[in-house]
Amino acid sequence: MARLSIEHLRKSYGDLTVVDDVAIDIADGEFLVLLGPSGCGKTTTLRMVAGFVPPSAGRITIGERDVTTLPPWKRNCGLVFQSYALFPHMTVAENVAFGLEMRKVAPADRAPRVAEALRLVQLTGFDGRYPRQLSGGQQQRVALARALAMEPDVLLLDEPLSNLDAKLRQEVRVEIRELQRKLGLTTIMVTHDQEEALTMADRLVVMEKGKVRQIGSQRELYERPADRFVAGFIGRSAFLDGESLAPGRFVSAGGLHIACAAATGQGGATLALRPERIAVGSDAAGLANRFEARVEHAAYLGALIDIHVRLSEQDQMLLQLPNRQGFAEPRPGDSITIGWAEDAGLVYALES
């Protein structure tokens, strides 16, 4: 195991830059998740670390080794593909032994290491099966065991759970995380699934359009999102566009005056509010900001109720209310009072 450092990494295809100046440091034994919408450059970043895509610029260091120009077979990165990519002509045991064979481990020493890797993923006894005789979940574990058996310096996972059904995905999440912790594996996982990222990561990297938007723990990303994109991507936010006039004062596009501690006079800006900081009805009494809102649309989602409200001609927001006992969900056309405290919102200057 080793630490991994990515510096100023860039990848361009012609005029199109798909990974732009990415810098990430991953500590020994850390589980880092690259999270972002589809097409934002996560896979390309991971494939540059694995050695399949030559970077246009930048440096990748594993431990003390600069691997930027090394071919994949000299990097010692364990890789698990979304499609598992097992060798269909080899048995489970042969698949898992492949990395050891390539590293010239003596045949007698391979068997116990294969057995150990299969034990770790709970596939003891499946040695002689072929991949086509296994379920998707089992194939996924073989892929993991194959990567683990060669004792990689870093483990790279590209959407490893996206081909599993929902229930299995929950279980495998926990299993992968426990295994990673037990073995102290330095790991990068790529996903576009926010919940998966939040439940598994030590630290997250949020990417958008090839750029890193923010790196931090779940709490940091949720409570102090660095920009509007992160505020909308990690958890949900209600947004109001407007202007930050002066310290403590924000005016919405529709002319609502809002007391807001985060406003510093940035000029054109967006106010972001976490749904749970917005109070409704009698709960809103005594809060610094209180408004009458008209319900435009309400959706019952079980634990939550989504309500689209209009505060003025030009101000709309999406509220997410917990579905408490006896809560009567508002109907379109209803008028409700909503409110939030002065310290509730975050303000992001408009991006040019």
Binding site: P71, K74, P88, M102, R146, A147
Partner: protein, 290 residues
Amino acid sequence: MSATAPEAVAGARTGLAGALVVPATIFVAIGLLGPIAILFRYSLNQFIPGQFMVDGLTIENYVKFFTDGYYLNVLVRTVRVAVICTIACLIMGFPLAYVLARMTSPRKNLLIMLVVLPLFVGNAVRAAGWMAAFGSKGALNASLIGLGLIDQPLEIMFTENAVLIGIVAVNLPFMVLTLQSVIEGIPRHVEEAAFSLGAGPMAMFRRVLWPLALPGILAGTILTFILAMNAYATPVLLGGPKFQMMGPLVYGQFAQQNNWPFGGAISFILMTATIVLTVAAHLIVQRRYR
């Protein structure tokens, strides 16, 4: 009642499938097996000059072939040419097929057309082209002599090498297309997995690509081997009158010597040799790889 309804539909489907197989079956039976059976019967007849063919039941035609050094030599040469051509096609065809299979750019279809292009020209026409290019007064020798690089024309025409080059040129597209379609079915990620596990390009090829491409390799080699064993126009036109292979030999017996029984026997020996060698190679490869 309602439970039997789907049965009836399925039954009708299999009936239709059966009906669709009939034309091909009849064609194979009448068009291919029939003539072969007749040929085999002829090969047991006697040939008496002047009398054409006399009904009989003799193996003298086969004895004649296997006791005459000249004919044995033709068989050995044919097998040698076919084996060399097949190996050359495999060695040259695999990298090309791989590149084509892994290509994603729109130029791929253009390249495939280029590979197939030689097949648009018939064997005889192509061989005539080779003669014009490589004959002692052909374009190549004329330019080399004109440039003063050589003073005697190079002997390319009417050698075994000319025949080898000619047959490889014809068979290569078949090998490339067969291999390409099989390699396309091998996911790129599987190769990458091998690389990430520490396999260099050679090890990846040997342990992953080759075994997974094996069905295509077998199909391609069988196809090109059969084509080479039975080559006719290329050996005649590029090999010249003294370079005999089995295909032209059969034709000569039928058309020039009018010796149908012996021609039939040679046909049978050619067919049997092709089948036996193909099956033997198949078995050896299958044993080697599981």
